[in-house]
């Protein structure tokens, strides 16, 4: 099929769309003419909808999610489906989840959800399951096997210790830099399920895992970390093409460990510092990652965003949609066997805002 740019713009109000919306997004959409199995999906994550009181919610975080949904609704042709990457709520309250789901309900297309710690630690996922669905599951789409994990579980001794109230437990986990926090994990029950789930999948079938926390170990003090990451990685090792897409970190990150490609997604709410910006503790940021631009707090949406993802020959091309910034694309390079930024990967092509300290 011969696609041109016009075909990807809505026929009505195209001028408005192009002025309100970075053109690069449109270019990306018609860039691929791969085999019919290639497809696209959208990824929105970390909205952190926060209740102040009653019907009053933090405006800034609301606007982040609303903007992402509005922009994603302009994608033409439509992506096959959307993912939400976790932390829809800030403190796991019904009001926050309901308000977040209400905003998400205007997103046109099928949406699937990953649970984050901010959604979970008030009632241990009870309301989430009643409104959204199971905390882990798999599905197949156009020849790719997708797995969604609940990677934000932790030690039972922490979850069930004597908390004054469930909200105290929620607040303890919601505080990223809490020295009394507890590391994320997938846990035995889910690992057993995952092993069984993957046994049915042909080794040449591309596998994509969605998780909230990184299924790799970057920085434990902020839980940019999954305690049993290696055990998940071991289950993915036999596959020719494996990719993990995660939220939680509110920043651009990517890595390659053996056969597994890792991509982080942006938050719609606010950006987080790279761990190396905290001078008191060592971190293991993947060397491959070219950092996002340092945030300018005076532009409310700066260093936030959402993602448009292409599945090409079973590998991910990640297109970061970044308001008030140039969009970024990180694409799997089959020659080097690594994900690479299409503009900034070489040391000579990096720009000053990408230096964090």
């Amino acid at each position: 099929m011969n696609m041109n740019r016009r075909a990807f713009l809505k026929t009505t109000g195209a001028g408005l769309i192009t002025s309100a919306f970075p053109l690069s997004l449109v270019k990306i959409a018609f860039g691929g003419q791969g085999p019919s199995q290639d497809f696209t999906f959208g990824y929105i994550s970390d909205a952190h909808i926060q209740q102040i009181q009653g019907n009053n919610f933090v405006r800034n975080w609301d606007m982040g999610l609303i903007r992402a949904v509005r922009e994603a609704n302009l994608l033409t042709p439509r992506p096959d489906f959307f993912m939400f990457g976790g932390d829809l709520a800030q403190l796991g309250k019904k009001e926050e989840l309901d308000h977040g789901l209400e905003i998400m309900s205007s997103l046109r297309g099928k949406v699937r959800y990953v649970i984050g710690e901010h959604d979970y630690y008030l009632d241990l996922g009870e309301y989430w399951q009643s409104k959204i669905g199971p905390l882990w599951y798999s599905f197949d789409h156009k020849g790719v096997h997708f797995v969604t994990l609940n990677s934000i579980l932790t030690y039972d001794s922490w979850v069930h210790k004597k908390w004054p109230s469930p909200m105290d437990r929620m607040l303890a986990m919601a505080r990223l830099d809490n020295p009394q926090g507890s590391p994320f994990m997938v846990g035995g029950e889910q690992l057993t399920w995952l092993k069984k789930d993957l046994e049915k999948v042909n080794r040449s079938t591309p596998v994509v895992v969605f998780s909230h926390s990184p299924i790799q170990k970057i920085f434990k003090p902020w839980n940019f970390w999954t305690e049993d990451a290696e055990r998940v990685q071991a289950l993915l090792k036999p596959f020719e093409k494996a990719t993990v897409i995660y939220g939680h970190v509110h920043q651009i990150e990517y890595n390659q460990i053996g056969n597994i490609t890792f991509h982080a997604v942006m938050a719609t709410a606010w950006p987080w510092p790279y761990p190396e910006s905290y001078s008191q503790k060592a971190s293991c940021m993947p060397k491959l990652t070219v950092h996002m631009n340092r945030a300018d707090p005076f532009f409310e949406r700066d260093a936030t965003g959402w993602q448009f993802i292409e599945m090409r020959k079973g590998k991910v091309s990640m297109h970061y949609q970044l308001p008030d910034n140039k969009n970024r694309s990180v694409v799997f390079n089959s020659k080097t066997g690594k994900p690479q930024d299409v503009n900034y990967q070489g040391y000579g092509s990096r720009i000053p805002p990408q230096t964090h300290y």
Binding site: Q50, Q51, V58, N60, L176, W272, P273, Y278, S279, Y357
Partner: protein, 139 residues
């Protein structure tokens, strides 16, 4: 007699003054003890801890706290202030940026520069950045 008494009085005043002078000289710079050091450090750390609490609580009107964007006060860069803050258009001290954050993302009222809460916030932020060389003006 009266004259004598007056003389006595004067010498008493002189004596007292010299004693006071001697005491105050002995308290001049350089003369502090290990206990003093420990006490001053404790005083400072008490304020750091107070700042830690404030940094992790709602200082404005919308329940948002500083640490939501700045875990461990990262990306606040106290070592670079004062500096030219291009969005404000002049050289500012760190307290002005703290107030900017309180007024905007936190939707609250600014603190006076000498408010003990401001001293606590700045103490915590600077303590989390200890050991990093000063880089005034660095963007």
């Amino acid at each position: 007699m009266r004259k004598n008494r007056k003389l006595h009085g004067v010498s008493l005043v002189i004596l007292m003054a010299s004693v006071l002078l001697a005491i105050s000289f002995s308290l001049q710079a350089g003369d502090f003890t290990q206990e003093d050091l420990e006490r001053w450090d404790k005083e400072f750390m008490t304020v750091v801890m107070k700042g830690d609490k404030l940094f992790h609580s709602a200082l404005g009107t919308n329940k948002v706290s500083c640490d939501q964007c700045h875990p461990n006060a990262a990306n606040t860069h106290p070592e670079t202030y004062p500096k030219f803050q291009q969005q404000i258009g002049r050289v500012v001290s760190l307290f002005e940026m703290v107030n900017w954050c309180i007024q905007n993302p936190l939707e609250g009222d600014p603190l006076p520069a000498d408010d003990p809460k401001m001293a606590a916030l700045l103490s915590y932020m600077t303590y989390e950045r200890r050991g990093v060389p000063l880089a005034p003006g660095k963007h």
